[in-house]
Amino acid sequence: MKIGVLALQGDFAEHIAILRSLGVETKEIRTAEQLNEIDGLIIPGGESTTIGKLANDFGLIQPLKDFGKKKPIWGTCAGAILLSKDAHNDQPLLSLMDIHITRNAFGRQVESFEIDLDIPSLKKIDPSNKPYHAIFIRAPLIESVQSDAHPIAKLPDGRIVAAQQRNLLATSFHPELTPDDRFHRYFLSLGQPT
């Protein structure tokens, strides 16, 4: 299995480092043709307006939409915004997941935070189900999920910070910034036949 990481802008190198530590073959993705070589894609953290504009300018929007209808995609932070169908801003989106997003939902950078979350879905990866340490940076919030999209992580106050819809995954936080690789392993499990 080969996993691509969209490398238009953002912290794609951090995702690649974790995938490599798990023994996964990786590829930086900058063009539509490169999507043909991979079995799953991660859209990293970064600035969603920049990544969306570059994806649009280099003709990647439709190929990414087509890819997501067949194969797993995981978006972290900016990537989650791109997967959504509405982010209350005039910017290019992939509209692959039936989720609505509020950008910078917690405020500016000084409100960025770290917190431990309870994520039951990760039990499949590690039965101990220890708390998941999540880093939120100018983070978006998943304000609602529709259709067969469902929340998989919430803040203690109940607000949704991760959602899944079939083999599509969106997280408001950044698993690529912590040494805990459970979320990457969870994403890899989406690509396996059940």
């Binding site: 802008q9 953002g10 970064g46 920049t50 300018d57 900016a78 500016r108 950078q109 431990d116 910034l177």
Partner: protein
């Protein structure tokens, strides 16, 4: 762990989100809008771009908070602003209005000739300039969560940015070849905290994100800095002192993404109009060089 706000991890983390991107100097909300539309990952809000500060002279200070707030209201991307080296009250003011990053910058007139700001005390993260590894690690030791080369701001001459990038990256390569027992002496020689010297050697790169700045004016300049191994670029006067800022800004953004693809670099470099009028470093008297401010 309960919720912890504005930790060092979140400060460093925001810079990681800016990697592979272009941070543009803007002096009006209209500029900020153009920069965001061109694909900037962040804007640096200030009253005068470095080329004008150079030309007009006088004391260069923190910008009017009203201007910075207007720019913050205009764009959805992070907004940075500059304070004078050592001027911790200017930094308190920028902290109070909630900018996303503070640049303790040699482009402004230094307020303290001996001490930089203790950046650990602030919730807002800081970026600082450097010319070599020792200077970078001193700033990180003071709490900087992001580093940039100083280059020579406001010149449109990339030579100093290249010199400083090669200095930092070359020193890291040499550091990796030093035996453990030589690290303390090396730390003493370059005037850097021992623990950060050790950490840099283990990582093979600075412990924080490292951007290029100071003299970048073209897509080729930006791609050059990326190929040298920098994480992203600041463009100061190079965009809004050029003939067609929207087009040049977008071209530099694309060049940073596709820095290793000469075909795309050729495509985006076409028909950009006038570049900023440059000023060769060798024509500037030594005492007017901005990069020598700070230590």
């Amino acid at each position: 762990m309960d919720k912890q706000v504005a930790t060092y991890e979140t400060k460093k983390g925001l810079a990681q989100m800016l990697k592979g991107g272009v941070i543009m100097d803007v002096v009006t909300p209209e500029h900020a809008r153009i920069a965001e539309d061109a694909g900037a990952v962040a804007v640096m809000a200030l009253e005068r771009v470095p080329a004008d500060i150079r030309a007009e002279g006088g004391v260069a200070r923190m910008s009017d908070p009203e201007l910075i707030l207007k720019i913050m209201d205009t764009v959805s991307i992070p907004v940075m602003a500059k304070v004078r080296i050592g001027h911790f009250v200017e930094a308190q003011i920028l902290g109070a209005i909630g900018v996303d990053y503070i640049d303790e910058s040699e482009v402004l007139t230094p307020a303290d000739e001996e001490h930089h700001i203790n950046k650990h005390e602030f919730k807002v993260p800081f970026v600082c300039g450097c010319r070599n590894l020792g200077e970078a690690l001193r700033r990180i030791g003071e709490g900087a969560a992001m580093i940039r080369t100083k280059g020579e701001a406001g010149t449109g001459d990339v030579v100093e940015a290249v010199r400083h990038a090669r200095a930092v990256l070359g020193e890291i390569r040499r550091l990796q070849n030093l035996p453990e027992e030589e690290l303390m002496t090396y730390a003493k020689e370059i005037g850097a905290p021992y623990n950060l010297v050790k950490e840099t050697r283990e990582l093979g790169h600075l412990p924080v994100v490292n951007f290029a700045a100071g003299g970048i004016a073209t897509p080729a300049d930006a791609a050059l800095m990326m190929q040298l191994g920098m994480d992203g670029v600041f463009v100061g006067s190079g965009i809004f002192k050029s003939g067609d800022p929207a087009k040049r800004g977008a071209a530099i953004v694309k060049a940073v993404t596709h820095y290793n693809d000469p075909g795309i670099l050729a495509e985006v470099s076409r028909n950009l109009g006038e570049a900023m009028v440059g000023r060769q470093i060798t024509s500037i008297p030594k005492e007017e060089l901005i990069a020598n401010r700070g230590w």
